[in-house]
Symmetry: D2
Subunit: 378 residues, 4 copies
């Protein structure tokens, strides 16, 4: 009979979509209670938002530093246990760093940091701290993604020899084709958004999905970006040739100019004995193929599913799971870790996933900028 | 800046799936706080469950009557404002009746009552009470179901002339084909489950979906049930021929022995100018057809969607909505009504939907038992 | 090393679509050669069409009677062996009758005749003649339809307990909603089109599909038609409740006013151990479902397919089969029968299928006209 | 009222699948008559096969040279007008060369030759000959592929900025993973199959599909192959980064080890105003997407389709077109050209398509072998 975990929120106020997603996810499995927050840099907006969503205002702080300072004054059994970092990317690193240094668990949006170097600093810090650190690669929380991972681990595909992951969106078209807009939007400003737009924002999810489901690591890559216009220096489209183990190859395709695509994350994994295909927009349908048998469609909530998949399914077959469920599964895993309970590998993405992600992003930029050469990942 | 609505829960404890669904739905839009409950008939289980989900135990009551009695003693601004009834069907009526008589709003699972007569009694009571009464026909909360309704209302299909709704499941096979099981399960015992199994449990959702989306009323019907075995007296499958306005006809197909079907609610609506097709298991895809134009696929969250649809969409296009979102939309509409805020027709199913549902179920049974004759609905 | 079968064609000239379909089907498996024809009632058009498609004009006759008379004068090894009847429905019976009486094999479009009585007369005649008679229920020629039949026969679904077949089209909307057009089109004139429009034209295919795939016979039915307008006496939409063996029930849904539907023939068959779903517009995908296993998608051309299915597949998996292939499979089966070679049950629809079809159509009309009562089939 | 074109066939005897495909395609639109052939290198098999498919044996020749020699002796109005080359790849070039030199039209399977150099020799020869030369890139014959091309030409997508084409199959798994088989199969022997397996056999179709539909030319490429095993020297998988006009980029993905994939050719084309997605295994469904409107599904046979698309559709909407229809459309276009009739650009792939294909294949091999560098196409 667990007591709810005391959760602090950084960012995610107002109309923030990521704010809704994290809040709902924290509610779904009855594990968290929001006790403190800095939803907004403007203190008045901050307090008003807390009232709007009915969070007590006594622990709504004027800024992040105040939150840390004041919370540390509270007795340990009242203090925030874990903070969710939902702020702009460049704040992830300083916030995560300070939180770890002061004994808080962390749930951090991706990209975990803006550079691989920062990511490795956090990694060292975490090792010493003994705390829980979850990076919200939301899509790994879908029951059928977990099903892929478990079946692959159990050998259902045999040796994997080819992987193809895609993340296509079209939303940046309205910006990139407009000279005014593309020169003013923060997403295309390297100072604000980091060294990559498309690969850093969505390509990294495709990368993470491959490593999460297959259990393999990408060893080297060769990347070609498209900036679309000469006056734009941020990638809005890119294709990455990848090499994993010897003769295991693949491709990651990411685009923000794939007109009409909404949130088109998809993966296909081919092995000696079978293959999987899955698409995020129809998350409850997992296709298992082989060269000799009829295609099989796996769906959530069945007795034939793996334990990890069933753990992330709350309702019987035929009741569609959505994105809130996926994020909620990650919060559930993190809750178990925070409470020191037993949990399975794969229940939530750890800092290691964040570190790999930054390594990936920087490698793609290096490959493209050096003229589409192969770059080794660490 | 609204204060959260004080919610009481009746039933839904332990592993109850419907309990999870309502609880999550109440959280999602930050509108409700669970302040009191009778989760379970056993008081110890009841309290333990409250602890497990971290609801304060001071207002966990030993039974429904105690809840009403004790809550009425509290000052009005602390008292439960609305109760969700998640108990077995035969308890819906007495609970809903007493709640309305004592000034509580009600959110009630379907079927609203076990007889049409009871439903009409509640209807009279509600008219006098001035309270809000929502029946959780969950599926009307999906953004694309709302989109159909609004577009039909705006004339997108022209005059509707044919409707075809289906609700197919296969789960009762494991019971019905086993003589022992089918004679002992409460679902097939008319004393416990009411006069209909298949039509009362799922056919009524298909019925409701037709009336919700088209705005038309079914005037008469002819029904054929299948009991599968001579020693079973409850329908596990049924087909209903329906007539709406003159020369507007259709069919409702419901089955619990449709092997391999999970939760196969679907609707097709054909009009002079166009048609819609929608399936619950892929709720984010609405197909609009015409005789002369390419088929169109509507998806949630786009600027082209209706206000009612967008109101029920929390995230941008491509982030799959699931069943929790659908139920949450109904809770949101009810919250607005409870607070006396403005809300649109169709935001949540009202008691009238419940009354129509019971009228439908009793009419199907009458039609079948009288030898598949046409029966008028009121 | 067979010699090609000498084929005569009745009807199907000019832009006739059914003409193209039969001609191509006869070519596909290298079994037939068109040697004589009456493509058109106008002799000049008839000859010109023969030239256009490069059929020798010496055996293009001025009318059907001339064709029979002249062909009988030819030596038996030059004479037409089989005639395809592609004329308007009311001509099917007299032509088929005379052909059988004069020793020709027959391939006949459906409906085989315009009345059940005529159908039974042909049936008697055929029994005496020892000839081959194929009715072109084209859709039974699809490889995956054959796969269903064979797997059901082999027990893959266990005892079947529910069947649901649909044939929805929308093309008659443009006619039925126009008072002028609906009173002048031959399709809605009982003198020209027989006693039923929708059920006779397409409902009968759904009926045939059920009996072909399940091996069960429909014993009784109850039907409701929709005429849409009071000045129209032909059904353009209808739903049929059906009963097969005891407690085996189902529904046939047919419509010509299902706006936006093209050629929406589909079937779902539910049994104790499993179920099938198949749609004509995606003919290469057969879905096998069960309550406990992942859904399976069967596709043509695989080693796992039945002999009958593989016999109707000419290319490797992944090369889409279309409607020409389906019709060609029926011509192939008929060719084997005409040559007296061994063939399997199910390779082509026989006269019995035609007889059952007429029995079905007349029964639906009787049920509707008598006030939606149950009518027994023979 | 055209007379049928006199067709000769080279190869395609016995169980040859490509033989069936070409023969059926030549029948479908009543344009061709097979008058001579060398179906098989063995003369007895050759003649027997002719008897089996009922082709007169008097012009079945012992070899290709005899065919040319003897046909040239016949009067021009009896002589073969066009030859279809269905032999192993290395024979395409010498046969096509001799046919052109002797005044025959040619229909040639792809790859047109085994080297780019040979392709250019044919190109020169063709320019002088004034003959028709069709390369059977079958997939361009599908009505919805033609629809894409025409709509793109008419500006439906605006300026195209990204292209993604895939051709995935899994059939070589059974060979490549078996040391014995992979060292003995002709497909993986460069002497017999040319310099590339995967890219030469299927990647080139994806390449052709891009250039056919978009009207753009690929200017340079960078390629990575996978040989899977060190003792194998032929690509069985490859990914190609492509650049078309400035800032117009894309990817071609081809694989023969994509386990469970059958014949997975697919294309996605993204432009400023809209996008297309199409898959060969569901050839009758063309998806048009935009950032602001509902997705549209185009299907064959509608009045809204382009002239070129409708020209390739023989039946009304809802009657599935298959691979035979696609090939038949190419034969139809070639027939018009052979007869000197008017035909539209795009009705059949010309030698230019063959030349581009060889240029592509050689470029991919060069890119891979030189260490994944960019290679310009001519």
């Amino acid at each position: 009979m667990p007591k709810k975990i005391r959760l602090g929120i950084l960012g995610g106020g107002g109309d923030s979509l990521i704010g809704v997603l994290h809040r709902v996810a924290s509610f779904i499995n009855d594990n968290y209670e929001i006790v403190g927050a800095v939803f907004n840099p403007n203190y008045e907006d901050n307090v008003n938002f807390a009232k709007e969503i009915d969070v007590p205002t006594n622990r709504i702080y004027k800024d992040f530093d105040a939150l840390v300072e004041e919370e540390l004054k509270l007795p340990e059994d009242e203090r925030i246990q874990v903070c969710s970092i939902l702020t702009p990317n460049f704040l992830h690193f300083p916030m995560a760093k300070k939180l770890l240094e002061n004994g808080f668990h962390v749930i951090c949006e991706k990209p975990m940091t803006t550079t691989y170097e920062e990511a490795k600093i956090l990694q060292d810090l975490l090792a010493k701290s003994g705390k829980v650190f979850a990076v919200t690669h939301t899509y790994t929380g879908y029951p059928m993604v977990r099903q892929m991972r478990e079946m692959i681990k159990a050998g259902a595909l045999g040796k994997i020899h080819k992987v193809d992951a895609r993340y296509y969106q079209g939303w940046i078209n309205a910006i990139i084709h407009d000279k005014e807009k593309r020169s003013s939007v923060w997403r295309l400003d390297p100072k604000k958004a980091g060294i990559s737009s498309c690969m850093g924002d969505i390509g990294v999810h495709a990368f993470n999905m491959i490593e999460f489901t297959t259990g393999l690591q990408i060893k080297s890559l060769l990347c070609d970006f498209n900036y679309m216009y000469d006056d734009n220096v941020m990638d809005v489209d890119g294709t990455v040739l990848i090499r994993m183990d010897k003769n295991v190859k693949g491709v990651i395709r990411a685009s923000q100019v794939a007109t009409g695509e909404e949130n088109g994350l998809a993966i296909a994994i081919y092995g000696e004995k079978g293959a999987f295909r899955w698409e995020q927009e129809k998350p409850n349908f997992l296709y298992k193929m082989s060269d000799t048998e009829p295609v099989q469609i796996y769906k959530p909530g069945h007795a034939y599913n793996s334990e990890l998949s069933l753990d992330g399914t709350k309702l019987p077959p035929g009741h569609p799971e959505g994105i809130f469920d996926a994020m909620a599964n990650i919060y559930l895993g993190a809750a178990r870790a925070i409470r020191g309970e037993k949990y399975n590998d794969g229940e939530f993405p750890t800092m290691l996933d964040g570190v790999r992600g930054l390594n990936f992003i920087e490698s793609t930029v290096a490959s493209h900028k050096q003229g589409n050469v192969w770059v080794d990942m660490e």
